[in-house]
């Protein structure tokens, strides 16, 4: 039971089961949970959390939520820090719900983020895992979207 003063918590964030391997690939996680330690071509993302936040943000830009069908646990929500991670997810939830009451319901905040991430993930993986070095593809994608033309020598 939740009271006016309490906040509904959620301890895990989920994604589509079919996306898990690609999430791990983007974060450079190999079999047995071993992280790739290559400095020559480091993975595009430092952690699964970072992939999730980017996917959710791209989904917000696209402007559509896609509910999960077969969900699989991706991360513990304790990995999300207050700033900027939860600040952005809170903002996404407020914008989606046109109201602030959602801030006392972390379960709903995370659900909203999961569904935006589900939308944004396809675009994210298509751009970053295209031919070439994933981290460079990510930088080029960002500069293209926000910073004018991508630098050709990338």
């Amino acid at each position: 039971m939740t009271t006016k003063d309490s906040i509904t918590k959620r301890d895990r964030a989920y994604v589509e089961e079919s996306q898990i391997e690609t999430y791990r690939q983007l974060a450079g996680i190999r079999n047995g949970g071993r992280k790739s330690t290559s400095d020559v071509n480091p993975a595009a993302y430092r952690s699964l959390k970072d992939v999730f936040l980017m996917a959710a943000s791209i989904g917000v830009r696209i402007g559509r939520r896609t509910p999960l069908r077969e969900r699989k646990e991706l991360i513990m929500t304790s990995y999300l820090n207050n700033y900027p991670d939860m600040a952005v997810l809170n903002a996404i939830a407020i914008a989606d719900k046109h109201g602030v009451d959602v801030l006392t319901n972390q379960d709903e905040i995370i659900t909203i983020a999961e569904e935006y991430a589900n939308t944004g993930f396809e675009e994210l993986s298509r751009r970053v895992l295209a031919a070439g070095i994933p981290l460079l593809n990510l930088a080029a994608y960002l500069l293209e979207e926000f910073g004018g033309e991508a630098n050709e020598s990338l």
């Binding site: 006016k4 003063d5 309490s6 906040i7 190999r30 079999n31 047995g32 400095d39 020559v40 480091p42 993975a43 595009a44 993302y45 430092r46 970072d50 936040l53 980017m54 959710a56 943000s57 791209i58 917000v60 830009r61 207050n82 700033y83 900027p84 600040a87 952005v88 809170n90 903002a91 996404i92 407020i94 914008a95 989606d96 046109h98 109201g99 602030v100 009451d101 801030l103 006392t104 944004g120 981290l135 990510l138 930088a139 960002l142 500069l143 979207e145 926000f146 910073g147 630098n151 020598s153 990338l154």
Partner: protein
Amino acid sequence: MKIELMKLTNFRQFFGEQTVRFSKDATRNATVICGVNGAGKTSLMMALSWCLYGYEIENIGQLINKQALTETPEGFSIESKVQLVFTHAGERYTATRVMKADRISQEKWKRDVQSRLTLARVRSDGQFETINNPTGFIESILPYNVSQYFFFDGEKIDQFTKPGHEDEVKSAVRNVLKIEVLERARTHLASVAKEYQQELKKKATGQLQTLLEKQDKLRTELEAQRTNLEKLRNERSAAQRQLGDINEQLSRIEEIRQLEEQRKEVVATIKAKEEEKDRLWMTIRESTNKCFVLFAQPALEKALAVLDEKRARGEIPPGIREQFVQDLLTQERCICGRPVTAGSTEHDELVRLLGKSVSSALENSVIQTAGDLRSLLTGSDDILNQVKMLMKQKVDIENQIESLNQQLDEISRHLQGFDREEVVVLEKKRIEWHEQITLLAGSIGGSEERMNQLRKELEDLKVEISKAEIHEKSAKGLQRRLTLSSKATDALDRMCEVFATDMRQQIQKEVLAIFGKLIWKDSQFQNVRISNDYQLEVFDRWGLPARRELSAGERQVLSLAFITGMAKVTEEEAPLVMDTPFGRLSSRHRENITQHVPEITKQLVLLVTDEELHSRARENLEPRIGMEYELVFDQAIGCTTIKQLR
């Protein structure tokens, strides 16, 4: 293990009974035994090894004292014996090894087929208990293949650092850290898993059989890849050694010295730039990962607008706090002091106000979120500018590396057209070996990648196999055992890898610390490393490999640092016994060693000539000497007497 005393009876040049007592003191932990060349220092070392392990000496003439042999009448027998008293894990032991020989005639002897070892645990009251299997017991305290790193000939220890002796380093680390034990366990488990697999294939039918056959095929390929990878790594090590040799030959040619120096500098600069680029990758990733905020900007702006609207309407923060209204209702008193009774208009109004109020949790969240959003929106330009700047830096570094590589090509072209055939030939060979190493690196990468793919496929297949129907009850049991042994094999695999890496790094750290203390030119060397394939390398102040340039004495010091570093990391406790350790070393090195080595080991035994230990070296060691002996060789009888000096 701590040795207390060693008693020799007719052992090699030691006639009759002679005893050496070793210092057991914690501070004065060094025992010094001085003797000229041929006086018997090495024989004492051999006595220690022979007593414990029975190796080293085959020829009877080398073992039993010749004077004793001569004095033995026909029909009588003579014994050569070494007794060693030592402590281990709080218990005292006496090990006795004996070789007997019977004199049959003037020239003919009949000796024991092999020496006999007895081992007894001795109590303080003199009672003793004979240990069964003394050889196995001693092996468990200090294995023979590990003892070589504690009892060593100072003149031969530079083998670890001689070019072409990388296997010695690998062997030493694996023996001392018992990595082979883990690997044997892993191999055994893998073969057990394979046996279960074969049995299961016989029992299973249909889909499961197909899956098991596929699994078999993948495992076989994985093993083949593992073997191939090992082979490729060995080839790469050999190629790197060849390249090192050629670089050294080139650097010795006077006419091209300047060009070679220039090449070295350019190589060092490229390395530094590549390291800078590696660090830059990490920073680029940090920055790009933060850019999710940019995609979410429309949502941030909309959310902030909602929050500002709430604030403009006075809803948050609220004009009247929830707790204040709650308190009025509880006290049943208005803010002006008048009573407010339940059911009255005033009471209903207060309840209505309470319903409209915002909880404190929500209020706090809103205020915090509003502040965060303002901050995020202001800083969003900075995030992108940072990415742009870092990408530009990356391009700059790449251009610099490109330019430096062109310089290297130019130097190489110059050498290939040089007016001396030896230079041209060497340069061409250098290029070939360099290319070979590059190709091997590619093959190694490919093999590692294929192994990762195979491991992934096997993981997926495991899931399918476990889902497949298994009808026979025995197949289920076999499946469980197969799964268990496979998991155990994988776990041991990972454990071996992690353990070997961890231990190698620990040894490396200790070796670096000790080398820094022992070498007199410590400012000229910045690092010591043991690579993944167990190459022991020292790096000069410019960060370049310098092992090949070390003098014989410096190699000896490096080897000593390696051995003592390993001794620190290993769980084995044993005395450090060094035979003629200072022969090729300059006085500075001797001083450093005599100052620092007693600190590294609990018990030190030095077998030295008087020339080795004098002046400052002797002064440094003086406060640590607990016992001192001199080996006095009697020319008349050709035998040595051990004379105690203190």
